[in-house]
């Protein structure tokens, strides 16, 4: 057998195989169990224990369109969890390109809940249940300043309203009223919150990150500095499952939809890695 030819396989064939590995499971969807990891359960539990009358959930995002497939479902799942538990949600964006993405996510989840609501109390009202603070550069400044006054560093929200005029902001002043900050990121935002906000103000920090970043955050989960984490699309799918299992919120589960394709693509890659290694050692033997 000509093993050399197999080693020098055209990369476009690999791309084609990967494409098919993703497309075929999407055309023939099937259910796939997503077992939640300890770190994801821990994040879920921490948020679930927030007293909505006293504190809020803060979602801080720095994801951009490039990392949207992994990170956006995390934001949606967190909002569904908080809205179901009637925990107020404050959101901010640490990078400008992601700011409109987060706004569209808020609108989608609000619409999802409001389409089922029967009373004003059941509804999700902007200003009462959720506030989008928008973007304020550079990241370190709002992270530090929110410890003193959230409305101070975000005088206007994303939509141009005076932040201190919004209903929920009357009782949320700074990190004292934030149950946990979940930083959803393709970079290092959870560590910035740990280093600048947690050390100084003692706020709990959670992470939702792209899979690439996940290994950086596991040690902080080990020491308890990060209360819990969603790692990549798999982590988002786990959180979606936990929310769905516990509350049956419904709604589209974007991360869970991709998990079968994710597994199939991994099998394709593993196949190529094994094949490549067999070909390599066989060709060495032939030589």
């Amino acid at each position: 057998m000509n093993w050399e030819r197999l080693i020098q396989i055209d990369r476009r064939i690999i791309f084609l195989a990967m494409g098919l590995g993703i497309i075929i499971p999407m055309l023939f969807p099937m259910e796939m169990p997503v077992g939640a990891q300890r770190v994801t359960r821990s994040l879920f539990k921490t948020i679930d224990e927030i007293d909505g009358q006293e504190q809020c959930l803060m979602i801080s995002s720095d994801y951009t369109p490039q990392t949207e497939p992994e990170c956006h479902p995390m934001s949606l799942a967190l909002m569904r969890h908080a809205f179901t538990r009637r925990i107020p949600v404050l959101l901010n964006a640490l990078y400008v390109e992601g700011a409109p993405l987060l706004a569209s996510g808020i609108e989608d989840v609000m619409e999802e809940f409001n389409s089922r609501a029967t009373t004003h109390e059941d509804s999700i009202i902007y200003g009462r249940d959720v506030v989008y603070l928008g973007w304020q550069p550079p990241p370190i400044v709002p992270i530090l300043a929110m410890g003193e006054s959230i409305a101070g560093i975000y005088p206007d929200d994303y939509y141009g309203n005076r932040t201190d005029s919004l209903e929920v902001m009357q009782r949320i002043r700074n990190y004292d009223e934030v149950g946990i900050v979940v930083a959803i990121t393709g970079l290092s935002a959870p560590l910035w919150y740990v280093m600048f906000a947690q050390t100084k103000y003692g706020v709990k920090v959670g992470a939702g990150c792209t899979a690439v970043c996940a290994p950086d955050f596991y040690p902080y989960c080990g020491t308890g500095q990060i209360s819990g984490m969603m790692a990549g699309m798999k982590g988002a799918a786990e959180y979606e499952e936990l929310v769905e299992e516990t509350f049956q919120t419904g709604g589209r589960r974007k991360a869970t939809e991709g998990m079968v394709a994710q597994s199939a693509a991994h099998l394709v890659i593993m196949g190529f890695v094994i094949l490549g290694n067999i070909a390599y050692f066989a060709s060495r033997r032939q030589a």
Binding site: R12, F15, M18, G19, I22, I23, M26, L27, P29, Q66, T67, E68, P69, E70, V96, E97, A99, G134, W135, Q136, P137, I140, L144, G152, P155, D156, L191, V194, M195, F196, Q198, T199, T210, A211, V212, A214, P215, P219, Y220, G222, T223, Q225, A231, G232, M233, K234, K254, E257, G258, A261, Q262, A265, H266, I269
Partner: protein, 233 residues
């Protein structure tokens, strides 16, 4: 099949294909998509910065202060940095404008002022925070104490074993990256243990990276098959 009639979905599809055409080979369509992305990102950031930051945070308080000074005269209140109308906000704005002195050869040196302030602020903020929030807690987390074996304190046999494993990994990895002495004797054995942990770490990172890249491809394929072609629900 339920083909989208939304013009913006079609724009997204065309640009997706422009970028993915690189998988075949570099070509003008790919370069068009790439340049468009860079241009749009910059324009978006700039306009967002002007309308959401410069105008409300700097220009509005300064303009209000000018208005108040014009009608009531200049007072001490107009120099309160946290007041809604104040003159002081213009100072960081002017310092920031010194970045543009780069374009004037005789005044290029002035660019060092904002850069120096920026670096000084970040270094001052970051170095202590890094030690306090990262180095010391992580060192503490590496220590093997009696508590990690004690079920009464949330520990146990397994957590104790993991703690020992982590300690072994840290010492081994540090030994591997210790280059001031030749790797012989105990240092050699330490380094050999360290390389195993380093390789496992690289493997985990690579696996996570693959997962991340595949996730991005899945996101695009869901867009193409659901939002554009309407062949999946």
């Amino acid at each position: 099949m339920n083909l989208s009639t939304d013009i913006w979905v079609w724009v997204g599809v065309v640009l997706t294909f422009c970028i993915y055409s690189f998988l075949y080979r570099d070509n003008p369509l790919y370069r068009f998509g790439e340049h468009l992305f860079v241009g749009v990102s910059n324009a978006f950031t700039l306009s967002f910065m002007i309308h959401r930051i410069i105008i409300p945070v700097m220009w509005r308080p300064f303009a209000q202060a000018c208005q108040v000074a014009g009608s009531d005269g200049v007072s001490v209140d107009l120099f309160n940095p946290i007041a809604p109308a104040n003159f002081l906000v213009i100072i960081p704005g002017l310092v920031g404008c010194l970045y543009f002195t780069r374009f004037i050869p005789r005044m290029t040196w002035m660019v060092r002022i904002p850069i120096g302030m920026f670096m000084g602020y970040y270094t001052g903020r970051t170095v202590p925070a890094y030690f306090e929030g990262s180095v010391f807690p992580q060192m503490r987390g590496t220590l093997v104490t009696q508590a990690v074996f004690d079920p009464a304190q949330g520990g146990g046999v397994m957590s104790g074993l993991f703690a020992v494993l982590v300690l072994l990994g840290v010492i081994g990895t540090l030994a591997y990256f210790y280059f001031s002495k030749e790797h012989r004797g105990p240092l050699k054995w330490g380094a050999q243990v360290g390389i195993v942990f380093v390789m496992v770490g690289f493997g985990a990172s690579f696996g996570f990276t693959v997962m991340a890249r595949v996730s991005l491809a899945i996101g695009r394929f869901i867009f193409l098959m659901r939002d554009w072609l309407g062949i999946v629900t």
